[in-house]
Structures are given as C-alpha cells and as structure tokens.
Symmetry: C2
Subunit: 138 residues, 2 copies
C-alpha cells in the first residue's frame, strides 16, 4: 500500500495522528476515482465488510468530523432522515434522486452564476448551494 504515505500526510496535515484505524478510514474515503457520498452508517458497514476489522463507531465519528472541520469532507443535508458526507469539497451542487436515495454531483459550471437580488446589510455570504430533487419517470 504505497498510498498510505499520502494518507499519513493528509492526517498529519489536519492534525490527526496516523493510526491504523484512521488510515483504514482514509483508504475507504479517498482511495477512489469517483466522488464518494456516504452516511456514517454506510461508512461503518463498508469498513467492517471489506476487511472484517472492526473500528469503533466513536473513531468513525471522530475522524469524519475532524475531516469535515478541516475541509476534507463536506456535509450535505437533504432531509431529516439521512445525513450525508461528500468527498468532493469543491464548490458544487447536488441532485438527489428521491426514488433511489442517490446523490449526484453537479458541477458549479453546470449552473449559471446565481445572482441574488436581495441585499442583507452587515452580512457576508459564506456559501451558495443548490439542491435539485429528482425522481424516476414511470
């Protein structure tokens, strides 16, 4: 596993010690070509399933939250039932397929710049996010 050194650097960079559990989590999250959307539960199950090595939920929660805090993961709120995280931390938007509960990234470039005509004196804009809910035709 040569990637480990990348993960160790990444962990160090965000101020986490590179333990084997955290490296395992990094593999699961960042060793992918595609963006990864997941809930904590899905992540826990993947970790267990793939290597049959249990990582306590406290560690999963702590590590995911640390990555989120430092900007290596993004949180996506869609409804009160599920809380998603996204390994794509760039500025982008989402489709959410209500028929399948699937999240799909939509690049910033695929939506015209959003112009807001209402002004809010004394406030600064931190982020603008578009969520498009879709469903299967049938």
């Amino acid at each position: 596993m040569n990637n480990n050194s990348v993960f160790i650097e990444k962990l160090r960079f965000v101020g986490l010690r590179p333990t084997k559990q955290r490296i395992r989590i990094c593999e699961e999250l960042f060793n992918r070509k595609e963006t990864f959307h997941f809930t904590i539960n899905e992540l826990k199950e993947l970790l267990l399933k793939k290597k049959n090595q249990k990582i306590s939920q406290a560690t999963v929660y702590n590590t995911v939250k640390a990555f989120k805090k430092k900007g290596y993961l993004k949180e996506i709120s869609i409804n009160s039932e599920k809380n998603y995280f996204d390994t794509n931390t760039s500025n982008h938007h989402h489709f959410f397929n209500e028929s399948t509960n699937e999240l799909i990234d939509l690049d910033d470039k695929n939506i015209d710049k959003i112009k807001i005509k209402k002004t809010l004196p004394g406030k600064k804009i931190k982020s603008i996010e578009v969520l498009i809910k879709i469903a299967n035709n049938n």
Copy 2:
C-alpha cells in the same frame, strides 16, 4: 376566535379531525402575518408558554408531520443539528445566518431562473432549492 372555523376547515381538508390540541397548533402556526420558521422543540415550547396548556409531543409530531405530508408545511434541512419547518410553502429559497441560526426567506423572484446544463435522462425534477449560508460581518 373566529379564525377557528378556518383552522377547522384546514384540518378537515387534510383529513385531520379538529380537536382542540390541533386547533391550538394551527393558531400557533398559521395565525401570523409573517412566515414562521420553527423546530419541533421551539413549537412545543411556544405552545406551552403561551397558554400554559400542555400538548403531548406525540401530538405535536403527528400534527406537524401530517401538515407536511399534505403540503401545508415545508421541511428545510440545513445541517444535522436542527430540522426546521416553514409555513411558507410556496417556491422559494433561504438564507441561513450561521451567526444567529436564523432562517430568512428569499422569494423565487429574487433569484434568476436556474438553468441546469446537465441532463438526466429518465428523471424528472421535483424541486430546485437554493440555500445561501451567511454570517454577520465583524
């Protein structure tokens, strides 16, 4: 309370029997000039505070969910900590002030029509929602 007949009609319309607890909830939700954004907890506390008549949380949950299901309330997901509801069920967007946890409506007209350049064959769009996170300048 002449409004009661309006609430009774509303309740009947969505298939709920007009009990005094539900009418109380309607007063709290719909007897307002302004849009009302609330969490279940805030609503429970308001109900208790204003008339000192307790309504069980099961009734609050059931009634709010019934209104949501029938489109008299909208659910707004901002983060995993709080789950908001909105009495404004029209097509609109939101500012969320992260400094104060305040939700502010942004009329559809205040944002140019959103053009999506990515096509998703076999899917239909159910809603497009923009969430703008803001913070106080200081």
